[in-house]
Symmetry: C2
Subunit: 339 residues, 2 copies
DNA sequence: AACCTGACTGTAATCGATTACATATAGTCA
DNA sequence: TGACTATATGTAATCGATTACAGTCAGGTT
């Protein structure tokens, strides 16, 4: 590797001058600048990133903790993160945690070893290990979608899940539905509680009691949707509308419902969350809640970099707008509840 | 930040001893080790990653260049990359290029600045800029799926696209199809040529002439499938089978065909490539070529690390097995070509 | 002529580690 | 006891940059 020393010798100047030529050319006379640039070219010199980082104490990298990479919704967020980071001169270290706490800890500890300047968490767990917890002072951390558990208050970019769930429920109620099934994703998260609370609040207003037996599921997977429908259809009074907590679940639900010989939306209406790319091309196209995933990723980076630069945060919670996309997987109840 | 100096003072030893305690404890007496560990704990010391990297000359990071993140097939590969990297003590820098050459150059130059030790390319372009090209000696680079263009021969982990395309075509021929449409992805790639050649070879053997007007498309997107079908259906003799070069295209094709009031597979058979997660849950479930994406990612990392460690490569081209998944989007021709 | 200023460049300290080399101490053996 | 060895630790050089500080020199001012 060619280093700054070689270049300085080649140009017949000191290393300081080389460094200045590259970092702050105005400090160097045009003649010297020229000499140095020639030497740089000739030697094919590129400053060693690690050396610069040691000196400046900044890595210009951020870690992104993501439970898995197969969920297209996460990828939209990460796309936003990546592009905003790139624009601001940061690079993104990908931390696929597979939901494992120890992997989270490992990645989170990158902040403590100066390997990364900040962390974006897409899951809801406190990312640091118990051993590290007392060291994390106010390390730059932002969460997207989920609020981070624990005492420390980290800024969060999220959706108004309560309102979104209310909107979905209202939409279905307006079609005359009164019997609802819910296929949930990860149960232990704030999102889950908010959405469920949103649904129940509307039902309460309509005087409908939500039967807890109508709540199934437990992870954001297609298979959860398939199994969820199987369970719901064995109930004495199957629901006429099924609210799925993401589009993958909804895709599984569509599949299972049709497999049972029932039609969507004539027999059962189905809704999702996220508006993944394929949602609009399902048969029928999926009614779902659009989340500005890309934008959420971008905002997360902006807020994170604010923290990194020790700028005061204007607020610790940012709620981005959703929109309910009414497609063809929802429709009027055809046969009224025989109950 | 607590550094090694502080810890050494706290423990009453030299920095060398602290470093040895953490890196090679056998060199240190049990008593001193104990003292140091206590000091490390108390100070909450974590070695500065950047400093270690400067000294060792290794970053233990790899860059992954990916044209976009929304393609779930890429994400399966990256998942494999990420996990293999993690196991081997490497971390992954995500380089979303959006197909832009300058972004590729920027990310690729991380190898020249010691920011990363190796690079995995998921696209087909030579990732370095012209300026850098003479510097890249034998920097560790591996490509997955696509062969990298240019003179330099980089190892590649790929699928036997020719054979896979032949298998798909044979499958359709066995159902009696004789009139084929093809909706292609990125035209300028090796994959494209291999697959097209595979299809044509089978057709030639069957004495079928491939009508070049039946080749449409140009990018790996759902919309390409939708538009592709629209074009193909305006042909004087619409095809009875459509081969799509990835599942996203196929999903768009299914959607468009049904929108035209035709049935799959009764009127038109459709096939994809990749076997993305949703493929099995389409209506009808998609016949597609399964690629071992996760495994390809893992292998790429292994081969890359071999290069990083300057171990000789046993071979520069590795072809992983595909399997044709026959689902319900393909079936016998119902109405024989009226031709 | 003496002094000052500003532009440019070099010397050397520094970032936070690792490690070659030197040194000290205790233990072993003839 | 003296020589030798092994073990443990410290000193200081080193990785490849950045930058505070100091020095040089030309030109301008009084």
């Amino acid at each position: 590797m060619t280093n700054i020393k070689k270049v300085s010798e080649l140009a017949g100047v000191s290393t300081a001058t080389v460094s200045r030529t590259l970092k702050d050319p105005d400090l160097v006379s045009p003649q010297t600048r020229e000499k140095v640039m020639v030497a740089v070219q000739q030697a094919g010199y590129r400053p060693n990133w690690m050396a610069t980082s040691v000196k400046t104490g900044k890595s210009n990298s951020i870690v992104v903790l993501v439970p898995n990479l197969v969920n297209p919704f996460f990828m939209r967020i990460i796309e936003g993160i990546e592009q905003a980071a790139q624009e601001k001169g940061y690079s993104v270290l990908l931390g696929d945690t597979q939901g494992s706490a120890s992997r989270e800890h490992e990645y989170a500890s990158m902040l403590l070893t100066n390997r990364a300047d900040g962390l974006i968490q897409l899951d809801h767990s406190f990312p640091f290990s118990q051993d590290d917890a007392h060291l994390v002072g106010n390390l730059p951390v932002v969460s997207v979608c989920e609020r981070i558990e624990g005492d420390k208050k980290y800024p969060v970019i999220e959706l108004d899940n309560y309102a979104a769930a209310r909107a979905v429920t209202h939409h279905l109620i307006s079609y005359g539905h009164r019997s609802f099934g819910v296929i949930a994703g990860q149960i232990s998260s704030q999102i889950h509680h908010d959405r469920l609370a949103g649904i129940k609040s509307v039902l309460a207003e309509e005087g409908i009691v939500f039967d807890e037996a109508m709540l199934v599921g437990g992870s954001y997977k297609i298979e959860t949707g398939v199994e969820g429908v199987q369970q719901l259809l064995t109930r004495a009074q199957p629901p006429t509308a099924i609210i799925c907590f993401n589009d993958d679940i909804a895709i599984g639900a569509l599949y299972a419902i049709k497999k049972h010989g029932l039609r969507v939306p004539q027999d059962i209406s189905v809704t999702g969350f996220d508006n993944v790319r394929v949602a609009a091309y399902m048969d029928p196209p999926l009614t779902t809640v659009d989340q500005p995933a890309y934008q959420m990723g971008r905002r997360a980076v902006e807020v994170l970099i604010q923290q990194i630069n020790r700028q005061p945060l204007t607020r610790t919670r940012e709620i981005l707008p959703f929109s309910l996309l009414e497609r063809q997987s929802t429709g009027p109840v055809s046969k009224p509840n025989q109950h």
